[in-house]
Amino acid sequence: MSFSLTPGMLLQITGPNGSGKTSLLRIICGLTTPESGEIKWHGAEIRSLAEEYSRSIIYIGHRIAVKEELNSLENLRISSGLAGCELSRDQAQQALARVGLSGRENLPARFLSEGQRRRSALARLINCSATLWILDEVLASLDHAAVTLVESLISEHLSKGGMAIVATHQEIHISAGSFHRLELEPPVSRGTASPGSPS
């Protein structure tokens, strides 16, 4: 498998359950080391770039890293702070309003519904300076309005020259940038299905 992304490009990764969508995204993030093959960023191997590469990407995984004990405002400000783009209280509040959580900023995340928690994770994308967005099953348990919101966030990002890789089964409609789809093959029953090796 081999693919490359250019500015303004959205890559949707589809494929049956167990085909390795999450593994592929984790490899692209640098969280998992591929058995073979390499991931390059501006022509350099991502392992050698290390923190410089981390600065260029944002990853929202299956586990969305929202702390149950913290409220949405704290969750957003802390995770942005860790990702290297500190938000002021106002900026964080605006971002939360955009994802439809205004009025619930001070509620601990354990009182939020699954969809609302996902929305609060999505707020990280707003104000974020990363070039490459890597989103895993980001549309799961989101309602129609939230799906539209994600699509418009991605479109804005692409129109500014950003790139996105999204693993999802749902249709994504974007109003800017170019759209590509990568279909992963179903797992091989011999048990030799190896994670992809994009370059």
């Binding site: 969280l31 004990e69 802390i78 702070g81 500190e86």
Partner: protein, 227 residues
């Protein structure tokens, strides 16, 4: 939006962990009570033989501190691993070394500093003299960060394993032995009227070495656990 610096990220980590600990006060208090109760059972069980109590005091208080710190160490990375925060921490644009150092510092402040502060009070139960209490306090003050640092390696290695709590004890307790020997040795020396300096200096040396190497080993272990 301001540019990230290692210092600001370190501050975010420590502040976040302190805030989370405050929201889960019960966890922190249970470690402290465990320490107090274990150390208090000995005087109650042995009876009022001052001489015997005084000679076992350093060992008992130190062993209780080791066990109490084991209790809290299991939690250092666990909840962050479960909700995916740990993945995000490995993806920060700063060295993972700093993330680990920040988390260990927060764990030490929250779980170990209360033990250090209350230890002199426990020493009174064993009939220790006031200068010995001071040595006990200082030895724990230097020794407990080593426990946190070394323990974080075990916590990272056993992350996500079933029965990780027992495994971490088996992995880490042997590594705690030098800290126990020199920590309790310092108090022992003071009881016997010898200067505890040599023991304390050695503890200090251990602290420096573990400060340099432990976070590095922990970040490597975290990367392996999260693959």
């Amino acid at each position: 939006m301001s540019a990230s610096s290692p210092v600001s990220m370190f501050r975010w980590i420590v502040a976040r962990d302190l805030m989370l600990a405050w929201r889960r006060r019960a966890d922190v208090l249970s470690t402290l009570f465990f320490f107090v109760i274990v150390a208090s059972l000995f005087p109650l069980g042995i009876g009022p033989e001052t001489q015997l109590l005084r000679s076992i005091a350093p060992g008992v208080v130190w062993v209780a501190a080791l066990l109490a710190s084991m209790l809290s160490l299991g939690r250092v990375f666990q909840s962050d691993e479960q909700d995916g925060t740990l993945e995000q921490m490995l993806l920060t644009p700063q060295p993972v070394y700093l993330v680990v150092l920040g988390k260990v510092l927060a764990q030490w402040l929250v779980s170990e500093v209360p033990l250090v502060l209350i230890a002199p009070l426990l020493g009174v139960q064993f009939g220790l003299a006031s200068e010995t209490l001071l040595v006990l306090f200082i030895s724990l003050l230097i020794g407990t960060p080593i426990l946190s640092l070394i323990g974080s390696i075990g916590a990272a290695l056993t992350l996500g394993l079933r029965g990780g709590g027992v495994l971490i004890a088996l992995l880490i307790l042997p590594l705690y032995i030098p800290v126990l020997i020199f920590g309790a040795g310092a108090v022992d020396a003071s009881i016997n009227g010898v200067s505890p300096q040599a023991n304390l200096y050695l503890l200090g040396a251990f602290l420096v070495v573990s400060l340099v190497f432990a976070p590095w080993a922990t970040s490597a272990a975290l990367r392996i656990s999260l693959e």
